[in-house]
């Protein structure tokens, strides 16, 4: 069996992270044409109203507000702690989970509701074939 070769460019860490050939990476969601419900990732049917084949893709905003967070101190071997796990409501709709960076993991410093933005970076992990992955983080914005 031939060994797997590493991909040429970075791969998206999740299917809803889009890396266009031209332009900048962004997150993409699906919106139901019937009821307006928003989903991450591709799907056929709306799980809010049951509409079939009624979903259309749209780019998520890179701007949002911190909804809630937790500071993770215990994780699995090889995962660096502490880090901030967070839930972000994006402007124009859509809620995404990610790591919050650029701020101390201290409850006294992190304010729920604070403005944040999405940033894209090469992930610090590779797959078995040695491919690189592009991931997203959230960071405070002015």
């Amino acid at each position: 069996m031939a060994e797997q070769e590493a991909a040429k460019g970075p791969l998206p860490i999740v299917p809803f992270l889009k890396i266009p050939a031209a332009g900048s990476p962004h997150l993409e969601a699906q919106r139901c044409k019937g009821c307006g419900a928003i989903f991450l990732g591709e799907r056929s049917n709306c799980s809010k109203c049951g509409a079939r084949d009624a979903l259309e893709a749209f780019p998520l905003s890179s701007r949002g507000h911190l909804y809630v967070y937790s500071i993770v101190h215990r994780s699995f071997p090889g995962i660096e702690v502490p880090y901030i796990s967070c839930i972000v409501d994006l402007e124009g709709g859509g809620t995404v989970k990610g790591n919050l960076i650029g701020i101390e993991p201290d409850p006294a410093k992190i304010k729920m509701g604070m403005p944040v933005e999405t940033v894209f970076k090469i992930a610090p992990r590779k797959d078995a074939a040695g491919s690189e992955y592009l991931t997203y983080y959230f960071q405070p914005r002015p």
């Binding site: 809010k48 809630v68 937790s70 993770v72 994780s75 699995f76 990610g98 790591n99 992990r125």
Partner: protein
């Protein structure tokens, strides 16, 4: 159509039993529940068995291999942390439907140690845990708790007090995994797992089993109602679509829907309850469920824990067994263990932790994915 009754119910002392098999653990509780009912396995017309980690392993049949292969119908149930309660509810429904008069429900689990959730690789090549936030259970429930903090200013200390209370309750329960007091400083200074949940604010992974003998009204009258407990409501919900549910499991909506139905089915309100065993998988979760179950007003949960409303002796004691936090949380057994606890109080047999003159009690479990089960029990005699 008559009511359904619990005729016998019991649980093993929760602990770590690596030398035992899952069916052996289930068999222990099954025999204890049969003894409690004064019946034999030959009297049971069906078995509903809840187990999560060996969901494809025919655990119910293997329990009968341990205690008597009577050839009755066996149904194996898996429904995350609502597994045991789901097995019990299926047994309840079979009797309600008139199919049987006497049914056995067993919940059993053997747990490893350590974190649950968040370990798997994503749909693409590298694991996302620690890169795209955390999917571990302590984090998921920490984030759910922070939503309450965001709305009402609930503090780390208030969440920690839940753990102080439940650990205190467990000192009165010989079947709990732990019987140790954990003062507030000890809870708050324990290893931080996922802020605001410290190690002592996370449920204990234990092995355990619990079982119940359910029976029809007709049969209960025939066999004697002296220690029977009436099932006034049995409700199961799944997660309706909510805005953030995709990335932040919503444990509130399916609990609120189940509670509303349960109160309606039982014909009572939250004020009529004498005790509640609710799903304190993490200290943060208990705070949310005070409001979800209507045990206090919206935004009052912090005050409820500060002022001892939910402690033994308070206006509505919650988790007097010690809860999942200290009694332990063997996933598939938890739902039936909660029913054991409430039944024991309604029978007036709870010893030092007895809630005086208990007439109505509620049990609640929620499994992520999601499934919420609520039962309301009533004292008969």
């Amino acid at each position: 159509m008559g009511d359904v009754y619990i005729l016998g119910v019991d649980m093993i002392k929760f602990g770590r039993f690596p030398e035992k098999s899952v069916p052996q653990l289930g068999a222990q509780a099954a025999l204890m529940a049969l003894d409690d009912a004064g019946l034999k396995i030959q009297d049971m017309e069906a078995l509903y068995c809840g187990n999560l980690y060996q969901a494809s392993g025919m655990v119910g049949q293997r329990v009968l291999h341990e205690i008597g292969q009577t050839g009755v119908p066996v149904v194996n149930c898996a429904n995350a942390c609502a597994t045991g309660a789901t097995a019990f509810r299926e047994a309840w429904m079979a009797i309600k439907a008139g199919a049987y008069d006497l049914v056995l429900a067993v919940g059993v689990e053997q747990m490893g140690k350590g974190l649950i959730g968040g370990g798997g690789a994503g749909r693409t090549g590298i694991p996302t845990e620690g890169l795209l936030g955390s999917g571990t259970m302590p984090t998921v429930f920490a984030e759910a708790g922070m939503e309450h903090s965001r709305k009402y200013g609930t503090s780390f200390e208030q969440f920690a007090k839940v753990s102080v209370k439940n650990h205190h309750h467990s000192t009165l329960n010989p079947k709990a995994m732990y019987q140790i007091e954990t003062p507030l400083e000890m809870v708050m200074n324990a290893e931080m797992i996922s802020y605001p949940n410290t190690k002592l604010m996370c449920s204990v992974n234990v092995d355990g089993s619990a079982a119940a003998v359910l029976c029809s009204e007709k049969k209960a009258r025939e066999l004697g109602m002296k220690r029977a407990v009436r099932v006034k409501a049995s409700v199961l919900t799944s997660d309706p679509w909510t805005d953030r549910d995709l990335v932040m499991p919503d444990v509130n909506t399916c609990t609120r829907r189940a509670a509303a139905k349960a109160y309606e089915m039982a014909g009572i309100s939250a004020k009529d309850l004498d005790l509640v065993e609710l799903h304190d998988c993490f200290a943060t979760a208990e705070i949310l469920h005070y409001e979800n179950l209507g045990l206090c007003g919206e935004g009052e949960a912090g005050r409820a824990i500060d002022e001892g409303w939910t402690a033994l002796g308070g206006r509505i004691p919650v988790n007097v067994s010690g809860g999942l936090l200290s009694k332990g949380h063997p996933l598939g057994a938890t739902g039936i263990a909660n029913l054991y606890e409430v039944s024991t109080h309604l029978r007036g047999e709870a010893g030092k932790r007895q809630v005086p003159n208990a007439r109505f009690g509620m049990t609640h479990v929620i499994g992520l994915g999601s499934a919420c089960a609520i039962h309301v029990l009533e004292k008969v005699a």
